[in-house]
Every structure is written in structure tokens, then in C-alpha cells.
Subunit: 264 residues, 2 copies
């Protein structure tokens, strides 16, 4: 399971302020941290940009790339932001993402063809909802891949996000149990390898304190790893997340097992 940082997010007040002030320092610090923990990629989520959208995303990407050499996920619902971002990226970016919602199919998905990028496909139906049951989600996945292929985006360039939901939702845990099932079933459903991603930070939304949130995140990392998720989008400044990820690599033989590594 490969870590992708979700730390460069508009909901973080430090990032929000850096954008307002065009201050590169907090962006560089975030990028430096992501580099230090060997994140494979960074997700860039600036929220809806009303003014100077192209200039803002270009500023952020150029700043981040001075420090972070991994890939970038461009997380936006604005096609003009995505296009400016794609243009500014030195390494092949990943568009994050599309779903069966009409606006996403018409405005976002075609960019993956136009710029020959990879793109994340959310298992969200036309009504903008996450289905509960695994079979319903697989049906959405099937439709997503069909739509992508119609637009010239092959299965190999789609990464499926089955949408992890907050535990505080009604039936949140049941949704996430079905999510694990979907991650397990997707490769055989498509009769070939398809990659998957999930965003961990949703899980603990509404938790009473940081420690409780850290507990559910760390433990769910092990579950996602057991289900063979490919990419995990998470807070890489949270040490317990990195520890859990490292343990998952050791327990699954994805790095050489030693007792010293477990203890460290």
C-alpha cells in the first residue's frame, strides 16, 4: 500500500492562509515533510477557487515542486484549475477525480484523454451518492470504466476510489465494511488488475479528539492493507499512520521482515 499525502488541503488553516498571502513557506514545509516520509505523491486540494484560479494553482504547484519530487494529484471540480495544474506539473499528474455525476463526466473526464493522464474514478452514482452494498458499487465501477473507455481513457489509467465514509455517518461502519469487500473484489471483477485508492481522513470526521481519530485511522490502515488497497491518501504528519503502514508492509512481506523493524 503506497502512501499519498492529503496534507496540502484548503481545510488546513495554515494552507488557507498561505494561499491568501501567496506565502510559499508553509507550502514548502508541507512538501518537505512529504518528501521526508517518502510519500509517493501529494494531493493538492485548494477548494473552489473564485479569483485568479489558474495563477493560484500554478503558484502552488511550482512552489511544491521545488521541494517535492514525487507525483501530484490534482483535486478539483474546476476544469480550468485542472488544466492549469496539469500544465504546471513536471511529472505526470493524476486527476482527482470523476464519477457518474454528469458535470464530472462532461467537464473532468475528457481532460484525462486530452492530456493523457491517469484519473481517479469515485464509486458515486449519478445522484451523487455512495451506494451501500458491494454489488451496487461494482455496478457503478463497471459504468465508470465504460464511460472512461468511451472517452478514450483505458482501464489502466483509471484508479478506483470506492469512497471511505465517516464512522459518524449512520451505518458508517457498514459502508466501510462493504468498501473493504469492493477493494477485494475489484481485480477479479474486471478480470485484470485495476488499481484502487481510498482517502483515510474521512474516517474520523467528527471524532471527539485527535487521539481517538488516530486510533481509528491506524487500525483501519491494517484493514485496508489486508484488502490489498493500492494507494492510501492520508495525513502523513500523523506518526501512528506511518507506523501502521510500516507494520502492514512487514506483516504482508512487502518489506523484509525483522523484529527490529517491528520495534522501531
Amino acid at each position: 500500500m503506497i502512501p499519498i499525502a492529503d496534507n496540502l488541503h484548503i481545510m488546513n488553516p495554515i494552507i488557507a492562509n498561505a494561499l491568501k498571502e501567496r506565502d510559499p513557506v508553509p507550502l514548502k514545509k508541507t512538501a518537505e515533510h512529504c518528501r521526508n516520509v517518502n510519500a509517493y505523491a501529494m494531493d493538492i486540494n485548494l477548494g473552489p477557487l473564485k479569483h485568479n484560479a489558474e495563477e493560484v494553482i500554478t503558484f502552488v504547484i511550482e512552489t511544491v515542486q521545488e521541494t517535492f519530487e514525487g507525483r501530484l494529484l490534482l483535486d478539483s471540480v474546476q476544469s480550468e484549475v485542472l488544466e492549469a495544474g496539469i500544465t504546471a506539473c513536471r511529472k505526470p499528474p493524476i486527476i482527482n477525480g470523476f464519477s457518474l455525476e454528469k458535470a464530472k463526466l462532461t467537464a473532468i473526464l475528457p481532460l484525462a484523454d486530452k492530456y493523457q493522464t491517469e484519473i481517479i474514478g469515485f464509486l458515486i452514482n449519478e445522484q451523487g451518492q455512495v451506494p451501500l452494498r458491494a454489488e451496487e458499487r461494482l455496478e457503478v465501477a463497471s459504468q465508470l470504466v465504460t464511460k472512461a473507455e468511451e472517452r478514450g481513457v483505458s482501464l489502466e489509467r483509471v484508479i478506483i476510489d470506492p469512497v471511505l465514509v465517516p464512522l459518524s455517518w449512520q451505518d458508517g461502519a457498514r459502508y466501510n465494511r462493504e468498501l473493504l469487500e469492493v477493494i477485494n473484489l475489484l481485480p477479479q471483477f474486471f478480470a485484470k488488475s485495476i488499481r484502487t485508492i481510498a482517502g483515510l481522513s474521512n474516517l474520523g470526521a467528527g471524532s471527539p479528539d485527535r487521539a481517538t481519530r488516530a486510533t481509528v485511522e491506524a487500525n483501519f490502515i491494517l484493514m485496508l492493507a489486508a484488502a490489498k488497497l493500492d494507494f492510501i491518501l492520508m495525513d502523513v504528519t500523523q506518526k501512528s499512520n506511518l507506523d501502521a503502514l510500516n507494520l502492514s508492509h512487514l506483516l504482508l512481506g512487502e518489506k523484509v521482515f525483522t523484529w527490529e523493524e517491528v520495534k522501531s
Copy 2:
């Protein structure tokens, strides 16, 4: 995932001494602990018994049953011990267990028919070995179930143990990665629900200290739960194991989710 205690084991010096002295107190204490943590069952493993085998197993079972009202797993390779044990059990026992090894097929498996009990089937081949790859293990599972059915033991009465191995084995982590795969695949492989069990205490054999062992056990509990293992045989005196099991129940919606439960 349902907990079964592996604490009544001859490798525990307190238990070994209690057997030698016919001292019921340590047996009762173990049984009391298993009752207090709501273990579904207790595994009774007295090792090979040379003298007074039937009397010893009867003594243990009668003592344990005074305190523990759950079910018992009878863990022995001696058919006379199993028969005496089955006769002493108040609740339906589970025989633990058989494999494709000839001695097990001829001496152990028939007891499940004779006494109409459930029986655990280890995914161990005729040569007494655990296959590495999931497909090989499924082939062993298929042969096991065929042998059981030939002997009058239906699929519903077989519980499959895909054999968790020590991380300290060469390729131990790879073996256990395949084990998770097998647990996931077994239900659809048999096109109906078949139950699974795994023994956790093997995992940390050879660990340098108790804390390291506790870490790998707790984390692997989450992975086994994600793979939808039915029964976990484990040390129920280890609080971190109980905490991990409780978290797995919360995260998978197997008990009502509250943040208070996560914190407790």
C-alpha cells in the same frame, strides 16, 4: 470475528504443573478469565499424554466446565484422548483437528462422524506441509472437504484452518499474506458459506520480547478481521488483543459504533 482462548495449553508451565499435581485451581482461574472476557470457546491442548490419558482429559474438562460455560475445542492427536474428552463435554465440542495426513484421516476424522461433532480441518497436505500459494491451499481445502464428506462429515461441520505461520519463518510474512487471500476466497470457492479459524499465537513465535509480540498480534487481528475470518484462537489474557478485536468489531459495524467505545 469470534474469540476462542488458547490459554489452556501444556506449553504454559502453570498449566503443565497443574496437570502433574492434579491441581484444579490454575485450570479454574484460566476458565474464569475466559468467561470474564466472553470467549466463545476454550481450546484444550494437553500435548501428548502418555499415562492415564483418559483420566487426565476428563479431569481437565470437568474442572473447566465448573466455571466456563462456553464450548470446548479438543486439541489432540490421540483418538482415545479425544473420545474421552468428547464424552466429558456438556456442550457440543469441536475436534481440533484433522488434515490430509494419513494418521489424521484414519484416526481423527471418523470421530466427527461417530460423535456428530464439528471438526477443524488444517490446510496441511499429505506430507504434513503448509503450501505457500493460495491456489495450492484451496486445492487442499477441496480435498479435505471431499475426505470429510466421504466419512459422513458435511461441509457445514468443517471449520477450515489455513494455518498462520510464524513471522520468523523464512517467507513467513508471504505465507500469511496468502493466508489472508485464502480466508477471503474460501466462501466463494465452495459456493457457500464455510467457516474459518486461525491460531494467532504462532505469529509472534521467536519474538525478542512480549511487547513486540503483542504489536504484531494486535495489528494482524485487524487484518484477519478485514479478511472476514470467523474464529480467532488467541491469548485472551493479552489486553492489546482484546482491544484490537473490539476495534475490529467497531470498524466493521459488528457492534454499534460510538466514539466512547473507541476511547475505552
